[in-house]
């Protein structure tokens, strides 16, 4: 329901002024390896922000900082600060569960749980305390509709999620995420395992979703970044080399390295 509630927030809401996510001189170390170097970035609300760059430059790492999924990796260390809605998410008393509810993630390979379609979507609401069947059914329907799956699956809610084709699995993962009512959707190459037609349909869905959500998408595919995003950042070897309006970054990059990358000289 947060879609409806947050669709037209009160004008005085400070959250409209502050960026959804902000990183300040953020560095990240895997052991002694510095995977992010002094990254400064501000992700605007209700827009699609794309992160591009060659393999291994740190796109996934940066994305996984935003909901602290990096905590699962041993030996990770952070310097600098990361603010979500103006609050430092690495402060000692940060509530990880609340953070991950607010900043959700869709992964590169669709990873629905090996349970039914219904159970997948109901999982989030259920673990966050929704108990009544009627409410869960309503949440499942609403979030399957939001990703365009409802008409296909409404009679097959009990089938195993893993029996669906990849595109539907990825949509299901998105439904599962939307069901916990996040504000921010982090997507790590969500289309890289899909065919071009499925990719185009997912992109349409992203346009639909950005009305209500802040979206950060990592992609290898520069056409995709150009098509869907309004902001884009180019990363190289842990540096955020350039960040700004997508149009400017692709037509008139300020940095030579960005120029080289988008014209295909490396990567």
């Amino acid at each position: 329901m947060s879609q409806a509630a947050s669709a037209d927030p009160p004008a005085a809401d400070v959250r409209v002024q502050t960026p959804a996510i902000e990183a300040r001189s953020l560095s990240l170390f895997y052991g002694s390896f510095r995977a992010l170097k002094d990254v400064d970035v501000a992700v605007p609300r209700r827009e699609i922000t794309a992160l591009i760059g060659p393999s291994g430059c740190g796109k996934s790492t940066l994305l996984r900082v935003f909901n602290r999924m990096n905590d699962l990796v041993r030996g990770v260390r952070i310097e600098g600060s990361v603010l979500v809605d103006g609050r430092d998410i690495y402060r000692p008393d940060a509530d990880l569960i609340a953070l991950r509810k607010r900043v959700g993630m869709v992964f590169q390979r669709p990873n629905p749980f090996p349970i039914s379609v219904f159970q997948n979507v109901a999982y989030g609401p259920a673990i966050h305390g929704m108990a009544s069947n009627a409410e869960l059914e309503e949440a499942v329907e609403r979030n399957l509709r939001a990703t365009g799956l409802w008409d296909d699956l409404k009679d097959r809610l009990r089938v195993p999620a893993l029996s669906l084709p990849p595109e539907q699995q990825q949509r299901l993962c998105l439904s599962r995420l939307l069901a916990v009512e996040p504000d921010v959707l982090l997507m790590d190459e969500p289309c890289s395992t899909l065919d071009p037609i499925a990719t185009a349909r997912i992109e349409e869905l992203l346009f639909e979703l950005k009305k209500n959500y802040t979206i950060v998408i990592v992609t290898h595919n520069m056409q995709q970044a150009a098509r869907v995003s309004s902001r884009a950042g180019f990363m190289l070897l842990g540096d955020l080399v350039e960040f700004g309006a997508t149009e400017g970054l692709f037509t008139n990059p300020r940095d030579q390295r960005t120029q080289d990358y988008i014209t295909g000289r490396f990567g």
């Binding site: 909901n67 999924m69 699962l72 041993r74 990880l96 569960i97 609340a98 953070l99 991950r100 509810k101 959700g104 993630m105 992964f107 390979r109 990873n111 629905p112 749980f113 090996p114 349970i115 999982y123 989030g124 259920a126 673990i127 966050h128 089938v159 195993p160 999620a161 893993l162 029996s163 669906l164 993962c173 599962r176 995420l177 916990v180």
Partner: protein, 312 residues
């Protein structure tokens, strides 16, 4: 020799050894079964130890009440299998009640919650338990554990189903733990990440995502544990009191099918009804474990297919 020829030679060797294993299994069954058959077929054996004598209540003298008794070497031999069957079931049930929660709990803890240095300690220690000879476990249960359990629970008998079952459980734990832990660690990390990223706690993730995903393997672990419990001989022989009494109470002594074979086959008169009954018991045990494993495996296959979606 060309590489092709070498490869097909190796393949042939592997195929032969695989078939030998199956042939061996069949031969074991044939030989045990052959010695058991007189219980069903031979007029002479059936007179003394036919199926009705094995399974129905008998009264040696018409004046005495009917009873279930295993007394194969008394003046009038009695061959009721009921005391042995209940003894086996009792020991197995106690063993599983004791071992499954511990083994599965340890497996979940080790795969989901323990930091990796702790896992490096837990896993080998429990697996070491599997290497302890069962006679040592039996000895321990007989000499040490029995006294403590008797004092703790204030029991009449030192050796009883609880004592035997717990000792048996010690042998079951490493098998169940190892197989279950493997099943849990084989659950793709992406499921855990998916769940954590939705704001689930590690507990919720383990309970609601990882366990269901690993359920086929965990079920298989339980079936293996059951097979071990029902077939194990030395521990129950030493720790159970070995009295063939028909009782459902866990505080009474018991005697199992397997311990009966072990204790009596050495002394039995070759070719006597008693001899054939012991083989009949062996055949029962064989069929029992075989059927459990087969059913367990079929069930596991179905579950796997259902989870992966290749079957609805």
């Amino acid at each position: 020799m060309s590489r092709r020829a070498a490869e097909s030679a190796i393949e042939a060797v592997i195929r032969v050894s695989a078939s030998l294993a199956i042939v061996g299994l069949v031969l074991i069954f044939v030989f045990i079964g052959k010695e058991a058959l007189p219980v069903l077929l031979s007029q002479e054996v059936r007179q003394e130890a036919g199926l009705s004598r094995l399974f129905l209540p008998q009264s040696p003298e018409p004046s005495e009440p009917k009873e279930f008794a295993w007394q194969p070497i008394s003046a009038i031999p009695k061959y009721s299998l009921l005391p042995l069957l209940t003894g086996t079931i009792k020991a197995t049930v106690v063993a599983l009640l004791f071992a499954l929660p511990l083994a599965l709990g340890a497996a979940v803890f080790s795969s989901e919650f323990a930091p990796s240095w702790l896992r490096e300690i837990i896993k080998p220690s429990i697996e070491l338990l599997a290497g302890i000879p069962s006679v040592v476990l039996g000895f321990f249960a007989l000499m040490v554990m029995a006294t403590y359990i008797q004092d703790l629970l204030g029991l009449d008998y030192r050796l009883n189903a609880i004592n035997a079952g717990i000792a048996l459980g010690l042998a079951v734990i490493p098998i169940v733990f190892t197989v279950a832990e493997d099943a849990l660690t084989a659950v793709p990390q992406s499921y855990r990440e998916g769940s954590i990223a939705l704001g689930a706690t590690p507990w919720q993730t383990a309970w609601r995502v990882v366990l269901p995903a690993a359920f086929p393997g965990i079920f298989a672990a339980c079936v293996l544990g059951f097979g071990r419990a029902i077939g194990e001989t030395m521990i129950v022989l030493m720790a159970s009191g070995n009295a063939a009494v028909l009782s459902l109470s866990p505080t009474d002594p018991l005697r199992t099918l397997s311990a009966t074979i072990a204790a009596e086959l050495g002394e039995v008169v070759h070719g006597s009804p008693h001899y054939h009954v012991l083989f009949f018991i062996g055949t029962l045990l064989f069929l029992f474990t075989f059927a459990t494993n087969l059913l367990g495996q079929a069930f596991v296959e179905r579950l796997k297919q259902r989870l992966s979606g290749s079957r609805l």
